[in-house]
Symmetry: C2
Subunit: 339 residues, 2 copies
């Protein structure tokens, strides 16, 4: 067994776009296990827009990653050795695990995956992972869509947006997606069943929304912020709900300001509700989402994409793909082969 | 009986600050009553920040006042003649009535005041009027303050803010007000029982909030918007609630943009909820608020100020006082003597 770990450590806080020198890939010995710990070989690493927030020291929802620490990330791996009664070698587990090939973790901090479901492992990092659960609670708990209402989803082809749209369709809503290429727009309509899609890079978003949402917008699942959010806010209905899940368009702003929409008075005029969402608030209800999402996936009612980059050395490239909009679906890095 | 009405009609939509030529004061015959109508002599006229919104044609929560129409406003008056079975001369009524001395109204569109309460009439235009009911539902329904939480109120000495703070104190909260003069700050602490107050014209709001809200801010009752709102948003707690009641600092902006707070990402990071409030949504629960507010007023638990300007010709002056922050408490215009 390999006794070395390869890990990305944060060297300094990025200013604006992440630079290759902001992190370094180091090779270091795997520590000995203590009681209660497991050694996990990571198979899949999730890279997400929120990684950029964790690298900064702005006010945020978890402690920032400290300089010198292994970069934080969601992982799925296989137990190689265990000094925890709940795990044995070969068990598949997921949880926060870091940008690293191997992870010595407290067994209490990881979750064992259900065996023999027939569901491919990457599903547990996408539709049945944190992004799927984010979509589930964000849309249903905060967005509260009713049949016949119009739901708009930005970053519609993304890991969260694509699931949001499909759940909204299951609930009987009209669903319009906003995305960054004709290919992605066709994908969300043809494969995910959205009623329409807007390419924000080539189309006038406000004009197209007026055409595609003739009855106005009841729910906005907001992943992007900036001018796209402004265009949506112009067309919200009375008592609209805005699920604020992310504002990826703003994360690389170096001045630290993340301005609200240009037409913020619409919140007052339309008695709208804007509410922020972080999926970790739903840890105690995780199984509720997994159960229903798992059923929908097995019934073929929810489809998902994964976009896999191979090799830990390509982790920053994988993250860049998200900010460039190059990925289609959940962006993962494969750190080692599936068992 | 006088058979002429004096009325302010909207001549053109103000650009920026209201100019005297934007409205004209005309004298015109009072029309004959038709079946179902009453003739009301207005006694008190309410002038409010939202009047400025109604004069514009921006997207808003009611139709804008049309050019040439009598300006819309809340009134309290006495019935002079009636062709409606529910009213007789001498009845006191309130409701939307316009900036005019006399009003021929459908009896179905006004409310008869309770008789013999011993409560002074101006109370029905302040603590027990639309501003009091706004404070009541905004704080309790949307803000949902819990005992021990910290509530911040901007425009704290105003008709809405002063009632919000007193209700929050009744509910066991720590209450900090923000206001525009030392006199008003002393007033909200000494007379309305706030725990502290900040003069935004002479003090650094962010610094003072840090001192006066050592446990952070759980509820913001937002009447002002702009930089004061930014300073509050910096210091909100997890799951904070922001009651968006008004943004008076922005109403005279001539470019039409009403930007959200500079640190809008706090909504996400703190999983906060921002919700807009227009009191007309609570018409069917009006008596619930009136009953409890009336009890508190009679018990002396809620105090209120009215700031009265005499004469319909001084209506624009009265409205200017609000935008200049010259009023203390509910700004009214007395159009004729109480019976």
């Amino acid at each position: 067994m390999n006794n070395m770990n390869r890990a990305w450590r944060l060297e300094k806080r990025p200013v604006g776009t992440i630079q290759p020198t902001d992190l370094s890939l180091v090779e270091e010995p795997i520590p000995e296990l203590e009681d209660g710990q497991i050694l996990k070989r990571n198979i899949y690493l999730s890279v997400d827009p929120t990684n950029r927030i964790w690298m900064s020291d702005r006010e945020q929802y978890m402690p920032p990653v400290e300089i010198g620490d292994v970069m934080r990330g969601g992982t799925l791996g296989v137990v190689e050795s265990s000094r925890h009664a709940g795990f044995e070698p070969g068990d598949l587990v997921n949880g926060l695990g870091g940008w690293q090939t191997h992870h010595v973790a407290s067994g209490d901090m990881v979750n064992k995956l259900p065996g023999d479901t027939g569901i491919p492992l990457p599903a547990f990092m996408s539709a049945l992972g944190a992004t799927g659960v984010t979509a589930y609670f964000g849309l249903l708990d905060i967005g509260q869509p009713k049949a016949g209402e119009t739901v708009v989803v930005s970053a519609a082809a993304g890991a969260v947006g694509s699931i949001v749209g499909q759940i909204a369709k299951i609930k009987g809503c009209r669903v319009i997606g906003i995305s960054g290429s004709d290919e992605k727009c066709a994908h969300v309509v043809d494969d995910f069943g959205f009623d329409g899609a807007i390419n924000y890079k080539t189309e006038n978003v406000a004009e197209r929304l007026r055409v595609l949402c003739p009855d106005g917008i009841d729910v906005d699942f907001e992943n992007v912020g900036g001018p796209i959010f402004d265009a949506i806010m112009e067309q919200i209905n009375l008592n609209a709900r805005i699920v604020l899940c992310g504002m990826i368009s703003t994360y690389n702003e170096s001045d630290g300001a993340v301005r609200g929409p240009d037409n913020f008075d619409q919140v007052l005029m339309k008695r709208a509700r804007i509410e922020g969402l972080i999926v970790s608030d739903y840890l105690n209800r995780w199984m509720e989402a997994m159960t229903e999402l798992g059923t929908w996936v097995m019934e073929g009612k929810i489809k998902y994409d994964v976009d896999i980059v191979d090799g830990i050395e390509n982790t920053l490239t994988a993250l860049d793909r998200i900010f460039a909009g190059a990925n289609i679906g959940k962006q993962l890095v494969r750190l080692s082969p599936e068992p």
